[in-house]
Protein backbone atom coordinates (compact mmCIF):
# COMPACT_ATOMS: atom_id res chain seq x y z
CA UNK A 1 0.00 0.00 0.00
CA UNK A 2 2.83 2.40 0.81
CA UNK A 3 4.21 1.57 -2.61
CA UNK A 4 0.89 2.45 -4.25
CA UNK A 5 0.85 5.79 -2.47
CA UNK A 6 4.31 6.55 -3.77
CA UNK A 7 3.29 5.68 -7.33
CA UNK A 8 0.23 7.89 -7.11
CA UNK A 9 2.39 10.72 -5.83
CA UNK A 10 4.90 10.34 -8.67
CA UNK A 11 2.02 10.18 -11.12
CA UNK A 12 0.57 13.41 -9.80
CA UNK A 13 3.96 15.12 -9.83
CA UNK A 14 4.45 14.05 -13.44
CA UNK A 15 0.97 15.31 -14.31
CA UNK A 16 1.73 18.63 -12.66
CA UNK A 17 5.03 19.08 -14.51
CA UNK A 18 3.39 18.14 -17.81
CA UNK A 19 0.52 20.55 -17.18
CA UNK A 20 2.92 23.44 -16.48
CA UNK A 21 4.84 22.66 -19.66
CA UNK A 22 1.62 22.34 -21.65
CA UNK A 23 0.21 25.63 -20.45
CA UNK A 24 3.54 27.39 -21.08
CA UNK A 25 3.65 26.00 -24.64
CA UNK A 26 0.05 27.03 -25.33
CA UNK A 27 0.84 30.53 -24.08
CA UNK A 28 3.87 30.72 -26.39
CA UNK A 29 1.74 29.50 -29.32
CA UNK A 30 -0.98 32.02 -28.53
CA UNK A 31 1.55 34.86 -28.36
CA UNK A 32 3.14 33.79 -31.65
CA UNK A 33 -0.13 34.56 -33.44
CA UNK A 34 -0.57 37.91 -31.66
CA UNK A 35 -0.04 41.00 -33.83
CA UNK A 36 3.67 41.92 -33.93
CA UNK A 37 4.94 44.97 -32.03
CA UNK A 38 5.49 46.77 -35.33
CA UNK A 39 1.83 46.20 -36.17
CA UNK A 40 0.65 47.38 -32.75
CA UNK A 41 2.76 50.52 -33.10
CA UNK A 42 1.33 51.24 -36.58
CA UNK A 43 1.28 55.05 -36.69
CA UNK A 44 -1.45 57.56 -36.32
CA UNK A 45 -3.21 59.01 -39.32
CA UNK A 46 -3.78 62.76 -39.46
CA UNK A 47 -6.42 64.23 -41.74
CA UNK A 48 -6.94 67.93 -42.31
CA UNK A 49 -10.69 68.50 -42.36
CA UNK A 50 -10.59 72.18 -43.41
CA UNK A 51 -10.45 71.67 -47.21
CA UNK A 52 -13.57 69.48 -47.20
CA UNK A 53 -16.64 70.95 -48.83
CA UNK A 54 -20.16 70.61 -47.52
CA UNK A 55 -21.70 67.30 -48.46
CA UNK A 56 -18.28 65.89 -49.40
CA UNK A 57 -17.54 62.28 -48.59
CA UNK A 58 -14.08 60.80 -48.39
CA UNK A 59 -12.39 57.67 -47.23
CA UNK A 60 -9.00 57.60 -45.54
CA UNK A 61 -6.99 54.58 -44.46
CA UNK A 62 -6.07 53.94 -40.86
CA UNK A 63 -4.54 50.70 -39.62
CA UNK A 64 -5.52 49.12 -42.91
CA UNK A 65 -9.17 50.02 -42.40
CA UNK A 66 -11.21 52.51 -44.36
CA UNK A 67 -12.39 55.50 -42.31
CA UNK A 68 -15.46 57.34 -43.59
CA UNK A 69 -15.54 61.10 -43.23
CA UNK A 70 -18.69 62.89 -44.35
CA UNK A 71 -18.99 66.62 -43.99
CA UNK A 72 -22.68 67.19 -43.62
CA UNK A 73 -24.57 69.82 -45.51
CA UNK A 74 -27.61 71.61 -44.13
CA UNK A 75 -30.08 69.17 -45.66
CA UNK A 76 -28.43 66.02 -44.39
CA UNK A 77 -29.72 64.07 -41.47
CA UNK A 78 -28.17 65.14 -38.20
CA UNK A 79 -27.79 63.11 -35.05
CA UNK A 80 -26.61 64.82 -31.93
CA UNK A 81 -25.24 61.68 -30.37
CA UNK A 82 -23.17 60.51 -33.34
CA UNK A 83 -22.05 63.64 -35.17
CA UNK A 84 -18.70 65.25 -34.53
CA UNK A 85 -18.74 69.01 -34.30
CA UNK A 86 -15.51 70.76 -35.26
CA UNK A 87 -16.17 74.45 -34.80
CA UNK A 88 -19.56 74.88 -36.42
CA UNK A 89 -19.02 72.11 -38.92
CA UNK A 90 -20.78 68.84 -38.65
CA UNK A 91 -19.03 65.54 -39.53
CA UNK A 92 -19.71 61.84 -39.54
CA UNK A 93 -16.59 59.86 -38.60
CA UNK A 94 -16.87 56.08 -38.73
CA UNK A 95 -14.93 52.92 -39.48
CA UNK A 96 -16.12 52.03 -42.97
CA UNK A 97 -16.66 48.36 -42.33
CA UNK A 98 -20.14 46.92 -42.20
CA UNK A 99 -20.81 45.73 -38.66
CA UNK A 100 -22.23 42.50 -40.05
CA UNK A 101 -19.22 40.82 -41.62
CA UNK A 102 -16.84 43.62 -42.46
CA UNK A 103 -17.39 44.51 -46.12
CA UNK A 104 -17.02 48.17 -47.10
CA UNK A 105 -20.42 49.82 -47.70
CA UNK A 106 -20.61 52.33 -50.53
CA UNK A 107 -21.89 55.90 -50.01
CA UNK A 108 -24.86 56.47 -52.27
CA UNK A 109 -25.05 60.24 -52.31
CA UNK A 110 -28.39 60.43 -54.11
CA UNK A 111 -30.12 58.27 -51.50
CA UNK A 112 -28.04 59.51 -48.58
CA UNK A 113 -27.27 55.98 -47.41
CA UNK A 114 -24.34 53.64 -47.01
CA UNK A 115 -25.22 50.43 -48.81
CA UNK A 116 -23.28 47.21 -48.28
CA UNK A 117 -23.28 45.01 -51.37
CA UNK A 118 -22.38 41.85 -49.48
CA UNK A 119 -25.57 41.23 -47.54
CA UNK A 120 -27.67 44.24 -48.36
CA UNK A 121 -27.09 46.09 -45.10
CA UNK A 122 -27.90 49.82 -45.08
CA UNK A 123 -26.77 52.67 -42.83
CA UNK A 124 -28.09 56.22 -42.85
CA UNK A 125 -26.01 59.40 -42.99
CA UNK A 126 -25.42 59.07 -39.26
CA UNK A 127 -23.95 55.59 -39.71
CA UNK A 128 -26.95 54.02 -37.99
CA UNK A 129 -28.07 50.63 -39.34
CA UNK A 130 -31.50 50.96 -40.94
CA UNK A 131 -31.94 47.74 -42.89
CA UNK A 132 -30.55 44.23 -43.24
CA UNK A 133 -28.37 42.09 -41.02
CA UNK A 134 -25.93 44.66 -39.50
CA UNK A 135 -26.50 44.44 -35.73
CA UNK A 136 -25.26 47.90 -34.73
CA UNK A 137 -24.31 51.29 -36.17
CA UNK A 138 -20.91 51.76 -37.79
CA UNK A 139 -18.13 51.83 -35.19
CA UNK A 140 -16.43 55.09 -34.34
CA UNK A 141 -12.62 54.95 -34.45
CA UNK A 142 -10.59 56.49 -31.62
CA UNK A 143 -9.59 60.02 -32.57
CA UNK A 144 -8.69 63.42 -31.24
CA UNK A 145 -9.09 66.88 -32.68
CA UNK A 146 -6.21 69.32 -33.10
CA UNK A 147 -7.63 72.53 -34.51
CA UNK A 148 -9.09 71.48 -37.84
CA UNK A 149 -7.07 68.28 -37.92
CA UNK A 150 -8.40 64.86 -37.12
CA UNK A 151 -5.84 62.48 -35.55
CA UNK A 152 -6.93 58.84 -35.76
CA UNK A 153 -5.58 56.34 -33.23
CA UNK A 154 -5.72 58.36 -30.03
CA UNK A 155 -8.69 58.77 -27.74
CA UNK A 156 -9.20 62.51 -27.32
CA UNK A 157 -11.87 64.19 -25.15
CA UNK A 158 -14.17 64.63 -28.16
CA UNK A 159 -14.07 60.90 -28.81
CA UNK A 160 -14.80 60.04 -25.19
CA UNK A 161 -17.70 62.44 -25.15
CA UNK A 162 -19.12 60.95 -28.35
CA UNK A 163 -18.76 57.31 -27.34
CA UNK A 164 -19.88 58.00 -23.78
CA UNK A 165 -23.11 59.40 -25.13
CA UNK A 166 -23.57 57.00 -28.03
Amino acid sequence: MADQGRRDFIGMVFGGVAAVGGVASLYAMKRTWDPLPSVMAAGFTTVDLSPMKEGEFRTVQWRGKPIFILKKSKEMKKCDDRDLMVGNEDYLIAIGLCTHLGCIPAWEADKQIFKCACHGGEFDACGVNTFGPPPRPLDIPPFKIEGTKLVLGEEGPEYKKLVGKA
Binding site: W33, R63, T99, L101, G102, C103, A106, C118, P133
Partner: protein
Protein backbone atom coordinates in the same frame (compact mmCIF):
# COMPACT_ATOMS: atom_id res chain seq x y z
CA UNK B 1 15.64 -12.17 -30.11
CA UNK B 2 13.13 -13.87 -32.31
CA UNK B 3 14.33 -16.78 -34.44
CA UNK B 4 14.72 -16.10 -38.16
CA UNK B 5 15.08 -18.70 -40.92
CA UNK B 6 17.08 -17.89 -44.02
CA UNK B 7 14.69 -16.29 -46.49
CA UNK B 8 14.39 -17.70 -50.02
CA UNK B 9 12.96 -14.57 -51.64
CA UNK B 10 12.65 -10.84 -51.10
CA UNK B 11 8.96 -11.35 -50.31
CA UNK B 12 9.75 -13.94 -47.67
CA UNK B 13 12.49 -11.75 -46.21
CA UNK B 14 10.01 -8.85 -45.88
CA UNK B 15 7.29 -11.15 -44.54
CA UNK B 16 9.55 -12.32 -41.72
CA UNK B 17 10.27 -8.74 -40.71
CA UNK B 18 7.06 -6.84 -41.54
CA UNK B 19 4.41 -9.58 -41.74
CA UNK B 20 3.49 -8.32 -45.22
CA UNK B 21 1.45 -11.42 -46.05
CA UNK B 22 -0.76 -10.89 -43.03
CA UNK B 23 -1.02 -7.18 -43.78
CA UNK B 24 -2.10 -7.92 -47.37
CA UNK B 25 -4.78 -10.25 -46.08
CA UNK B 26 -6.14 -7.78 -43.52
CA UNK B 27 -6.05 -4.79 -45.86
CA UNK B 28 -6.82 -6.36 -49.20
CA UNK B 29 -7.34 -10.03 -50.04
CA UNK B 30 -9.37 -10.85 -46.91
CA UNK B 31 -11.02 -7.50 -46.45
CA UNK B 32 -14.58 -8.52 -47.28
CA UNK B 33 -16.96 -6.32 -49.24
CA UNK B 34 -20.66 -7.15 -49.77
CA UNK B 35 -21.60 -8.00 -53.35
CA UNK B 36 -24.74 -5.91 -53.57
CA UNK B 37 -23.34 -2.41 -53.58
CA UNK B 38 -23.60 -0.03 -56.51
CA UNK B 39 -21.34 2.57 -58.11
CA UNK B 40 -22.14 5.10 -55.38
CA UNK B 41 -19.90 3.08 -53.07
CA UNK B 42 -16.93 3.87 -55.29
CA UNK B 43 -16.95 7.51 -54.17
CA UNK B 44 -14.49 6.79 -51.36
CA UNK B 45 -11.86 5.60 -53.81
CA UNK B 46 -12.64 8.54 -56.10
CA UNK B 47 -12.10 10.89 -53.16
CA UNK B 48 -8.82 9.22 -52.27
CA UNK B 49 -7.71 9.71 -55.88
CA UNK B 50 -8.75 13.36 -55.86
CA UNK B 51 -6.86 13.93 -52.62
CA UNK B 52 -3.75 12.41 -54.17
CA UNK B 53 -4.15 14.65 -57.24
CA UNK B 54 -4.50 17.67 -54.96
CA UNK B 55 -1.42 16.68 -52.98
CA UNK B 56 0.79 16.16 -56.04
CA UNK B 57 -0.41 19.21 -58.01
CA UNK B 58 -0.10 21.21 -54.76
CA UNK B 59 3.54 20.18 -54.35
CA UNK B 60 4.32 21.45 -57.84
CA UNK B 61 2.50 24.75 -57.22
CA UNK B 62 4.31 25.14 -53.91
CA UNK B 63 7.66 25.31 -55.69
CA UNK B 64 6.84 28.66 -57.31
CA UNK B 65 4.18 30.19 -55.07
CA UNK B 66 5.29 33.04 -52.82
CA UNK B 67 3.32 33.59 -49.59
CA UNK B 68 3.82 37.35 -49.43
CA UNK B 69 1.06 39.91 -50.03
CA UNK B 70 3.34 41.78 -52.46
CA UNK B 71 4.32 38.71 -54.46
CA UNK B 72 1.52 36.16 -54.11
CA UNK B 73 -0.77 37.45 -56.88
CA UNK B 74 1.98 37.61 -59.52
CA UNK B 75 3.60 34.36 -58.45
CA UNK B 76 0.31 32.64 -59.31
CA UNK B 77 -0.99 34.68 -62.24
CA UNK B 78 2.31 35.44 -63.90
CA UNK B 79 5.02 32.99 -62.82
CA UNK B 80 2.98 29.82 -62.52
CA UNK B 81 0.50 30.58 -65.30
CA UNK B 82 2.86 32.13 -67.86
CA UNK B 83 6.43 31.09 -67.13
CA UNK B 84 6.53 27.70 -65.46
CA UNK B 85 6.33 24.88 -67.99
CA UNK B 86 2.98 23.16 -67.39
CA UNK B 87 2.36 25.55 -64.48
CA UNK B 88 -1.14 26.14 -65.89
CA UNK B 89 -1.77 22.40 -65.80
CA UNK B 90 -0.95 22.08 -62.09
CA UNK B 91 -3.00 25.12 -61.26
CA UNK B 92 -6.05 24.00 -63.19
CA UNK B 93 -5.76 20.45 -61.87
CA UNK B 94 -5.51 21.81 -58.34
CA UNK B 95 -8.39 24.28 -58.69
CA UNK B 96 -10.73 21.88 -60.49
CA UNK B 97 -9.94 19.02 -58.09
CA UNK B 98 -10.60 21.34 -55.12
CA UNK B 99 -14.04 22.03 -56.57
CA UNK B 100 -15.11 18.56 -57.75
CA UNK B 101 -13.81 16.96 -54.56
CA UNK B 102 -16.74 18.66 -52.83
CA UNK B 103 -19.19 17.38 -55.41
CA UNK B 104 -17.99 13.85 -54.68
CA UNK B 105 -18.00 14.45 -50.91
CA UNK B 106 -21.65 15.55 -51.14
CA UNK B 107 -22.55 12.47 -53.21
CA UNK B 108 -20.67 10.33 -50.68
CA UNK B 109 -22.53 11.96 -47.77
CA UNK B 110 -25.95 11.69 -49.32
CA UNK B 111 -25.32 8.08 -50.31
CA UNK B 112 -24.64 7.36 -46.65
CA UNK B 113 -27.81 9.18 -45.63
CA UNK B 114 -29.90 7.43 -48.29
CA UNK B 115 -28.79 3.94 -47.29
CA UNK B 116 -28.59 4.62 -43.54
CA UNK B 117 -24.87 3.92 -43.42
CA UNK B 118 -24.42 6.08 -40.32
CA UNK B 119 -26.45 3.76 -38.09
CA UNK B 120 -26.00 0.78 -35.82
CA UNK B 121 -22.29 0.25 -35.37
CA UNK B 122 -21.30 2.52 -38.24
CA UNK B 123 -21.51 5.80 -36.27
CA UNK B 124 -17.75 6.30 -36.22
CA UNK B 125 -17.56 5.98 -40.00
CA UNK B 126 -20.06 8.81 -40.26
CA UNK B 127 -18.44 10.98 -37.58
CA UNK B 128 -14.92 10.57 -38.95
CA UNK B 129 -16.31 11.32 -42.41
CA UNK B 130 -17.92 14.52 -41.15
CA UNK B 131 -14.60 15.48 -39.51
CA UNK B 132 -13.04 15.04 -42.94
CA UNK B 133 -15.71 17.24 -44.48
CA UNK B 134 -15.00 20.01 -41.97
CA UNK B 135 -11.20 19.81 -42.38
CA UNK B 136 -11.60 19.72 -46.17
CA UNK B 137 -13.70 22.89 -45.88
CA UNK B 138 -10.96 24.60 -43.86
CA UNK B 139 -8.39 23.35 -46.36
CA UNK B 140 -10.40 24.67 -49.30
CA UNK B 141 -10.97 28.03 -47.67
CA UNK B 142 -7.32 28.52 -46.66
CA UNK B 143 -6.25 27.62 -50.20
CA UNK B 144 -8.77 29.95 -51.81
CA UNK B 145 -7.07 32.83 -50.00
CA UNK B 146 -3.58 32.20 -51.30
CA UNK B 147 -3.73 33.77 -54.81
CA UNK B 148 -4.50 37.07 -53.01
CA UNK B 149 -7.10 38.26 -55.49
CA UNK B 150 -10.11 40.38 -54.56
CA UNK B 151 -12.35 37.40 -53.83
CA UNK B 152 -9.58 35.76 -51.79
CA UNK B 153 -9.17 38.90 -49.76
CA UNK B 154 -12.84 39.52 -49.06
CA UNK B 155 -13.52 35.87 -48.35
CA UNK B 156 -10.77 36.05 -45.74
CA UNK B 157 -12.23 39.28 -44.40
CA UNK B 158 -15.73 37.81 -44.05
CA UNK B 159 -14.73 34.40 -42.71
CA UNK B 160 -12.33 35.79 -40.10
CA UNK B 161 -14.99 38.32 -39.16
CA UNK B 162 -17.39 35.46 -38.37
CA UNK B 163 -15.35 34.80 -35.23
CA UNK B 164 -16.25 38.33 -34.11
CA UNK B 165 -19.73 36.96 -33.38
CA UNK B 166 -18.42 34.89 -30.47
CA UNK B 167 -19.52 36.61 -27.25
CA UNK B 168 -16.99 38.61 -25.15
CA UNK B 169 -13.76 37.61 -26.91
CA UNK B 170 -14.94 38.01 -30.53
CA UNK B 171 -13.22 41.28 -31.46
CA UNK B 172 -9.86 40.34 -29.96
CA UNK B 173 -10.11 36.84 -31.44
CA UNK B 174 -10.47 38.29 -34.93
CA UNK B 175 -7.32 40.42 -34.48
CA UNK B 176 -5.50 37.38 -33.08
CA UNK B 177 -6.47 35.15 -35.99
CA UNK B 178 -5.45 37.81 -38.51
CA UNK B 179 -2.31 38.86 -36.66
CA UNK B 180 -3.20 42.43 -37.58
CA UNK B 181 -6.08 44.86 -37.42
CA UNK B 182 -7.03 43.86 -40.95
CA UNK B 183 -6.43 40.90 -43.24
CA UNK B 184 -2.73 41.39 -43.89
CA UNK B 185 0.55 39.64 -44.62
CA UNK B 186 0.51 37.82 -41.28
CA UNK B 187 -2.93 36.42 -42.17
CA UNK B 188 -1.69 35.19 -45.56
CA UNK B 189 1.42 33.47 -44.18
CA UNK B 190 -0.40 31.65 -41.39
CA UNK B 191 -3.17 30.48 -43.71
CA UNK B 192 -0.44 29.33 -46.10
CA UNK B 193 1.04 27.25 -43.27
CA UNK B 194 -2.39 25.78 -42.49
CA UNK B 195 -3.05 24.99 -46.15
CA UNK B 196 0.24 23.30 -47.01
CA UNK B 197 1.21 21.66 -43.74
CA UNK B 198 -1.05 21.47 -40.72
CA UNK B 199 -4.42 20.78 -42.35
CA UNK B 200 -3.09 18.20 -44.86
CA UNK B 201 -1.46 16.37 -41.95
CA UNK B 202 -4.72 16.41 -40.02
CA UNK B 203 -6.64 15.25 -43.12
CA UNK B 204 -4.27 12.33 -43.67
CA UNK B 205 -4.67 11.32 -40.04
CA UNK B 206 -8.47 11.42 -40.27
CA UNK B 207 -8.43 9.51 -43.58
CA UNK B 208 -6.57 6.77 -41.70
CA UNK B 209 -9.20 6.84 -38.95
CA UNK B 210 -12.03 6.86 -41.51
CA UNK B 211 -10.68 3.74 -43.24
CA UNK B 212 -10.04 2.00 -39.96
CA UNK B 213 -13.55 2.82 -38.70
CA UNK B 214 -14.88 0.93 -41.72
CA UNK B 215 -12.85 -2.22 -41.16
CA UNK B 216 -14.74 -3.49 -38.11
CA UNK B 217 -18.48 -2.86 -38.77
CA UNK B 218 -17.80 -3.42 -42.50
CA UNK B 219 -19.36 -1.71 -45.48
CA UNK B 220 -23.14 -1.30 -45.58
CA UNK B 221 -25.00 -2.56 -48.66
CA UNK B 222 -27.87 -1.61 -50.97
CA UNK B 223 -30.48 -3.49 -48.92
CA UNK B 224 -29.11 -2.55 -45.49
CA UNK B 225 -28.87 -6.30 -44.93
CA UNK B 226 -27.02 -7.52 -41.88
CA UNK B 227 -24.36 -9.90 -43.16
CA UNK B 228 -22.42 -12.44 -41.10
CA UNK B 229 -19.08 -11.53 -42.63
CA UNK B 230 -17.15 -14.37 -40.99
CA UNK B 231 -19.54 -17.04 -42.25
CA UNK B 232 -19.76 -15.55 -45.74
CA UNK B 233 -15.97 -15.19 -45.90
CA UNK B 234 -15.58 -18.88 -45.01
CA UNK B 235 -17.92 -19.76 -47.88
CA UNK B 236 -15.87 -17.67 -50.28
CA UNK B 237 -12.59 -19.16 -49.12
CA UNK B 238 -14.08 -22.65 -49.44
CA UNK B 239 -14.67 -21.96 -53.12
CA UNK B 240 -18.43 -21.23 -52.90
CA UNK B 241 -17.89 -17.87 -54.54
CA UNK B 242 -21.37 -17.75 -56.03
CA UNK B 243 -23.20 -18.55 -52.80
CA UNK B 244 -21.10 -16.17 -50.70
CA UNK B 245 -22.50 -12.68 -50.20
CA UNK B 246 -19.04 -11.16 -50.02
CA UNK B 247 -16.01 -10.67 -52.23
CA UNK B 248 -12.46 -9.62 -51.32
CA UNK B 249 -11.53 -5.96 -51.67
CA UNK B 250 -8.49 -6.87 -53.75
CA UNK B 251 -8.53 -7.76 -56.57
CA UNK B 252 -12.25 -8.47 -57.10
CA UNK B 253 -14.01 -5.42 -55.70
CA UNK B 254 -11.38 -2.86 -56.62
CA UNK B 255 -11.85 -3.66 -60.31
CA UNK B 256 -15.34 -2.13 -60.07
CA UNK B 257 -13.98 0.87 -58.17
CA UNK B 258 -11.32 1.36 -60.80
CA UNK B 259 -13.93 1.37 -63.56
CA UNK B 260 -15.96 4.10 -61.81
CA UNK B 261 -12.74 5.98 -61.14
CA UNK B 262 -11.77 5.74 -64.80
CA UNK B 263 -15.08 7.26 -65.90
CA UNK B 264 -14.74 9.96 -63.26
CA UNK B 265 -11.19 10.83 -64.28
CA UNK B 266 -12.31 11.34 -67.90
CA UNK B 267 -14.93 13.79 -66.62
CA UNK B 268 -12.33 15.44 -64.38
CA UNK B 269 -9.73 15.95 -67.11
CA UNK B 270 -12.45 17.16 -69.48
CA UNK B 271 -13.10 19.91 -66.93
CA UNK B 272 -9.37 20.56 -66.39
CA UNK B 273 -8.70 21.05 -70.09
CA UNK B 274 -11.91 22.57 -71.38
CA UNK B 275 -13.90 24.04 -68.51
CA UNK B 276 -11.37 25.01 -65.84
CA UNK B 277 -12.96 28.45 -65.68
CA UNK B 278 -15.84 27.30 -63.53
CA UNK B 279 -13.37 26.98 -60.66
CA UNK B 280 -11.88 30.43 -61.31
CA UNK B 281 -13.92 33.44 -60.24
CA UNK B 282 -13.26 36.42 -62.57
CA UNK B 283 -13.17 38.78 -59.58
CA UNK B 284 -10.19 36.85 -58.24
CA UNK B 285 -8.12 38.06 -61.18
CA UNK B 286 -8.15 41.55 -59.64
CA UNK B 287 -5.37 41.90 -57.05
CA UNK B 288 -6.56 42.17 -53.44
CA UNK B 289 -7.53 45.68 -52.39
CA UNK B 290 -8.36 46.25 -48.70
CA UNK B 291 -9.98 49.59 -49.53
CA UNK B 292 -12.54 48.37 -52.05
CA UNK B 293 -15.17 45.64 -51.68
CA UNK B 294 -16.34 43.99 -54.90
CA UNK B 295 -19.99 44.77 -55.66
CA UNK B 296 -21.13 41.24 -54.94
CA UNK B 297 -19.21 38.68 -52.95
CA UNK B 298 -20.07 35.03 -52.55
CA UNK B 299 -18.13 31.88 -51.72
CA UNK B 300 -17.37 28.96 -54.03
CA UNK B 301 -20.43 26.90 -54.99
CA UNK B 302 -19.85 24.20 -52.36
CA UNK B 303 -20.21 26.66 -49.47
CA UNK B 304 -23.23 28.50 -50.88
CA UNK B 305 -25.85 26.50 -48.97
CA UNK B 306 -24.36 27.29 -45.57
CA UNK B 307 -23.66 30.87 -46.67
CA UNK B 308 -27.36 31.23 -47.50
CA UNK B 309 -28.27 29.83 -44.07
CA UNK B 310 -25.95 32.46 -42.56
CA UNK B 311 -27.76 35.31 -44.27
CA UNK B 312 -31.23 33.72 -44.38
CA UNK B 313 -32.38 35.66 -41.33
CA UNK B 314 -32.40 39.26 -42.44
CA UNK B 315 -34.70 40.75 -39.81
CA UNK B 316 -34.49 40.91 -36.03
CA UNK B 317 -36.74 38.66 -34.00
CA UNK B 318 -37.72 40.51 -30.84
CA UNK B 319 -34.56 41.40 -28.94
CA UNK B 320 -32.31 39.04 -30.93
CA UNK B 321 -30.35 40.66 -33.74
CA UNK B 322 -30.68 39.14 -37.22
CA UNK B 323 -26.91 38.69 -37.36
CA UNK B 324 -26.81 36.61 -34.20
CA UNK B 325 -29.63 34.35 -35.41
CA UNK B 326 -27.81 33.97 -38.72
CA UNK B 327 -24.56 33.09 -36.97
CA UNK B 328 -26.32 30.59 -34.73
CA UNK B 329 -28.09 29.00 -37.73
CA UNK B 330 -24.79 28.88 -39.60
CA UNK B 331 -23.16 27.22 -36.60
CA UNK B 332 -25.98 24.66 -36.46
CA UNK B 333 -25.75 24.03 -40.23
CA UNK B 334 -22.07 23.21 -39.86
CA UNK B 335 -22.44 20.72 -37.02
CA UNK B 336 -25.95 19.32 -37.52
CA UNK B 337 -24.87 16.53 -39.87
CA UNK B 338 -22.49 15.22 -37.20
CA UNK B 339 -25.62 14.38 -35.23
CA UNK B 340 -27.27 12.24 -37.91
CA UNK B 341 -26.83 9.02 -35.89
CA UNK B 342 -28.68 10.69 -32.99
CA UNK B 343 -31.30 12.61 -34.97
CA UNK B 344 -32.34 9.45 -36.82
CA UNK B 345 -34.02 7.57 -33.99
CA UNK B 346 -35.03 4.52 -35.96
CA UNK B 347 -32.91 1.36 -35.84
CA UNK B 348 -34.07 0.41 -39.34
CA UNK B 349 -31.16 0.17 -41.78
CA UNK B 350 -32.75 0.19 -45.21
CA UNK B 351 -32.47 2.28 -48.35
CA UNK B 352 -34.65 5.40 -48.16
CA UNK B 353 -37.14 4.16 -50.79
CA UNK B 354 -38.10 1.37 -48.40
CA UNK B 355 -38.60 3.70 -45.46
CA UNK B 356 -41.72 5.65 -46.54
CA UNK B 357 -41.70 9.14 -44.96
CA UNK B 358 -37.91 9.10 -44.66
CA UNK B 359 -37.72 8.89 -48.48
CA UNK B 360 -39.79 12.07 -48.84
CA UNK B 361 -37.73 13.74 -46.12
CA UNK B 362 -34.52 12.82 -47.92
CA UNK B 363 -35.56 14.39 -51.22
CA UNK B 364 -36.92 17.51 -49.52
CA UNK B 365 -33.52 17.94 -47.88
CA UNK B 366 -31.68 17.46 -51.19
CA UNK B 367 -33.95 19.90 -53.05
CA UNK B 368 -33.76 22.42 -50.19
CA UNK B 369 -29.97 22.33 -50.22
CA UNK B 370 -29.97 22.89 -53.98
CA UNK B 371 -32.33 25.86 -53.50
CA UNK B 372 -30.04 27.23 -50.77
CA UNK B 373 -27.07 26.79 -53.10
CA UNK B 374 -28.72 28.63 -55.98
CA UNK B 375 -30.09 31.48 -53.86
CA UNK B 376 -26.76 31.73 -52.03
CA UNK B 377 -25.32 33.21 -55.19
CA UNK B 378 -28.14 35.66 -55.91
CA UNK B 379 -28.22 39.14 -54.38
CA UNK B 380 -30.14 38.97 -51.09
CA UNK B 381 -32.75 41.57 -51.93
CA UNK B 382 -36.52 41.57 -52.38
CA UNK B 383 -38.09 38.19 -53.07
CA UNK B 384 -34.67 36.49 -53.00
CA UNK B 385 -34.27 37.36 -49.33
CA UNK B 386 -37.61 35.66 -48.57
CA UNK B 387 -36.82 32.54 -50.57
CA UNK B 388 -33.52 32.31 -48.72
CA UNK B 389 -35.33 32.75 -45.43
CA UNK B 390 -37.89 30.00 -46.10
CA UNK B 391 -35.26 27.61 -47.46
CA UNK B 392 -33.26 28.18 -44.29
CA UNK B 393 -36.33 27.45 -42.16
CA UNK B 394 -37.03 24.28 -44.15
CA UNK B 395 -33.42 23.19 -43.68
CA UNK B 396 -33.43 23.70 -39.92
CA UNK B 397 -36.90 22.25 -39.37
CA UNK B 398 -36.31 19.17 -41.51
CA UNK B 399 -33.17 18.22 -39.63
CA UNK B 400 -34.02 19.33 -36.10
CA UNK B 401 -37.75 18.52 -35.98
CA UNK B 402 -38.94 16.42 -38.91
CA UNK B 403 -36.16 13.84 -38.92
CA UNK B 404 -36.46 12.84 -35.24
CA UNK B 405 -40.28 12.81 -35.52
CA UNK B 406 -40.41 10.68 -38.69
CA UNK B 407 -37.85 8.19 -37.46
CA UNK B 408 -39.44 7.88 -34.03
CA UNK B 409 -42.69 6.82 -35.69
CA UNK B 410 -40.74 4.41 -37.86
CA UNK B 411 -39.06 2.93 -34.80
CA UNK B 412 -42.50 2.35 -33.21
CA UNK B 413 -43.79 0.63 -36.35
CA UNK B 414 -40.67 -1.53 -36.57
CA UNK B 415 -41.06 -2.41 -32.89
CA UNK B 416 -44.75 -3.29 -33.42
CA UNK B 417 -44.03 -5.46 -36.45
CA UNK B 418 -41.33 -7.48 -34.75
Amino acid sequence: MAHFEKANSVGEWLDQRLAVNKLMKVMMTEYWIPKNINFLWAMGVVLMTMFTVLLISGIFLLMYYKPDTKLAFDSVNYTIMQEVYFGWLWRHMHAVAASVVFLVIYIHMFTAIYYGSYKRGREMIWISGMLLFVTFSAEAFSGYMLPWGQMSYWAAQVITNLFGGIPFIGDELVIWIRGNFYVADSTLTRFFMLHVLLLPLVIMGIIGLHFYSLRIPHVNNQEGEEIDFDAEAEKYKAGQKKESKVIPFWPVFLSKDLFVMGVFMIFYFYLVFYHYNFAMDPINFDPANPMKTPAHIYPEWYFLWSYEVLRGFFFDVGPIAAMDIGLAAFGIANVIFFLMPVLDRSPVVKPAHKRGPFFIWFWILVVDMIVLTIWGKLPPTGINAWIGFFATIVFLVSLLVALPAITKKEAERAGGAA
